[in-house]
Symmetry: C2
Subunit: 400 residues, 2 copies
């Protein structure tokens, strides 16, 4: 064909991280078919949906089976019953949202990626290491990206100073991605740090895209939402999800908060997002919306807390091993991820290979999340208690 293609796709790196992990794993399996391999690599949940959720979904399926209660097209942003449940969820953090500021969707991945469409060419500032979707969705649009190093030196929490260092000059009107608790490092911003970010964004006319997908894992006194910080409604959009809190990775429900007053160049971001979503999206399935509503009910939130507590216990057990053995790590306490510094100066892939070959444990090499991820390995707490305890035993034997 002679049509012109989006040439930016040529700039995308092959997303080889998980496929390379799979390749090495397959090779090892072939050589050692008897090995009992434990997987703590992928960030996918393993516990079933809360009972209150499946009960609501089953009831909704029944509604869809009868003409009197059948539902066709939903409002694109979601039924009021879901938006109101999300509104109440935010009230737990002292955040008041109007229903028109909340847009439900099929996943934080979709929302984070689709938000890029609202903007023109701006400098985009992204932490390194990072969830690859921030990078790829901007590269697909040919955006210039500055990486803010998240390293031991800054406790894996880059601030405005790292942004200005990365850019090399004073900035104005940039787009800043923050993820807290962070994937992959598990680091979490405290209130003072987020206040500094909001102050910086407002002073420079910048926009923060705040990814709170791991918010439910916060145990300590940290903000669960950027909107807990005063002034954030003038400079931030937040993307949240039920994937990790309620086990919705295979059920799909997220939401994005776009404050009503957010404007740039005389264009209102809330209206633009609404136009984008009504043009390109037809709403979350009714059955899933009822499940999401149930997950956000008081009964549902209690069940979700139990899920998170289960995973958190895994993180604690793993963290204890590394502490005992003097291996540095971050995360775990407020996040399902442990970000482990590879011992003895090993590289990410070297440590990955050692753990696979010597103790039959699979993690994710940190280098796959960005150049500053080199020398780290990400372990998840999403395994079963039994598998995690067994992994810890093996790590104890392996680490000197």
């Amino acid at each position: 064909m002679k049509i012109r293609m989006n040439e930016n796709y040529r700039l995308l790196e092959k997303n080889y991280l998980f496929s390379e992990v799979a390749r090495r794993l397959a090779r090892f399996r072939e050589a050692h078919p008897e090995a009992k391999i434990i997987h703590l690599g992928i960030g996918d949940v393993t516990l079933p949906l809360p009972e209150v959720v499946t009960r609501a979904m089953a009831a909704a399926v029944e509604e869809m089976a009868s003409q009197e209660t059948f539902r066709g097209y939903a409002p694109e942003a979601g039924y009021d019953f879901l938006l109101e449940a999300i509104q109440r969820h935010y009230q737990r953090f002292g955040v008041e949202l109007a229903l028109g500021e909340i847009f439900s969707c099929d996943g934080a991945k979709s929302d984070v990626a689709n938000l890029t469409e609202l903007f023109g060419q701006n400098l985009v500032c992204i932490p390194d290491p990072v969830y690859p979707v921030y990078v790829d969705s901007n590269r697909m649009l040919g955006r210039e990206i500055a990486f803010m190093p998240a390293t031991e030196d800054n406790d894996y929490l880059p601030g405005p100073a790292e942004l200005e260092d990365a850019v090399g000059h004073t900035v104005e009107g940039v787009i800043i991605y923050l993820c807290s608790p962070n994937n992959p490092t598990g680091a979490v911003y405290d209130r003072a740090q987020l206040e500094e970010w909001v102050k910086f964004a407002r002073a420079t006319g910048s926009l923060i895209i705040f990814d709170s997908a791991y918010e439910s894992f916060i145990a300590g006194d940290y903000p669960h939402s950027i909107f807990e910080v005063e002034g954030a409604k003038e400079c931030a959009i937040e993307v949240a999800s039920l994937s990790k809190s309620a086990g919705f990775t295979g059920t799909r429900c997220s939401w994005t908060v776009v404050p009503a007053g957010l404007e740039a160049g005389g264009m209102n971001l809330n209206e633009m997002w609404s136009r984008r979503q009504t043009t390109k999206f037809n709403g979350v399935p009714y059955v899933v919306q009822r499940g999401a509503e149930a997950a956000l009910s008081p009964e549902g939130e209690a069940e979700c807390e139990a899920l998170v507590a289960y995973y958190r216990e895994n993180a604690q057990i793993m963290g204890a091993v590394f502490e005992e053995r003097g291996v540095a790590y971050t995360g775990g306490a407020n996040s399902p991820y442990l970000w482990v510094s590879c011992p003895n100066g090993m590289g990410s892939w070297e440590f990955f290979d050692r753990l696979l070959e010597d103790v039959h444990l699979v993690g994710t090499p940190g280098a796959g999340f960005g150049s500053c991820g080199e020398g780290h390995l990400r372990l998840t707490s999403f395994g079963s208690h039994e598998a995690t305890a067994e992994a810890c035993e093996r790590l104890r034997r392996y680490l000197p």
Copy 2:
């Protein structure tokens, strides 16, 4: 804020069609609270999901409730069980697809709109009248659009000649949107006409984006898929949906077929779409995928045919009234839409007002779908038999 926004959003027309319909309806209701209004305006189904579908969905919900059968992240393009069901669906039309050519998604609206991201600046050729998403999703990216008139003169089925007329010169490497059976006109391309389009696309290095969302309504001998035409795999992408065939408007499952060999400028469209979807989408909910699989099973297809037959009967009853009264219309026979020529030279909105005020019947003014829609009204067959029969009685009394 000082960030640069996507200025193309300024070019979007306010999508006022359905809101204007709602406004006039509300005003009428206020003045005539006793009127029994019949709605044949919106293209949303009203019959419940097939029993085999809700049974499959209920079983899938149960799987999600137990750790042994719980499902987390799905493959972004869909589980093989769904892709294989879609593959078999195409075999009914004699079309062979590889599993890697099929990508399931949450809706034809999403797919049609998101496909625009793969391309650079090309001339985009769109029928008029048309489903507004083709226009808006291209306007959001600043694409130049040429409209191909679909009028009585060409039986509402523009061909390459209308395209070249609209552009005013010979074309090369353009993107062509075709929807057959058509929304809103209900017109359907026959084999010879599609062969002409495929021949034209191949000769000019152009791409056809073929929307077959209403394929299940075809009763006569018309192609159900563009891939029934030889050579289409070298110049076409097809978007299909369960919304209208299986009543999935509130359940959400579609698919897009991107042939493996489709290339332009050395870039492979199948690989690009896969990269787009794995980066920006996380798969259709497991419960919905099981429902979709059931809808595409032999038992499901039989139930879906019964749904379509029910709506088709409505279309026949309505069509009979217009024939009897000498009012010209197209559609209905192979489509849920009747595209009625407003009698006595009335404009779309005038006829809309007359029907609302005089017989309490709501249609959709054709002018809302593009300038060539002026002078037409779209009626849908998605009502109940009872409501449709009552609407026909009223039309008979009203039309001389």
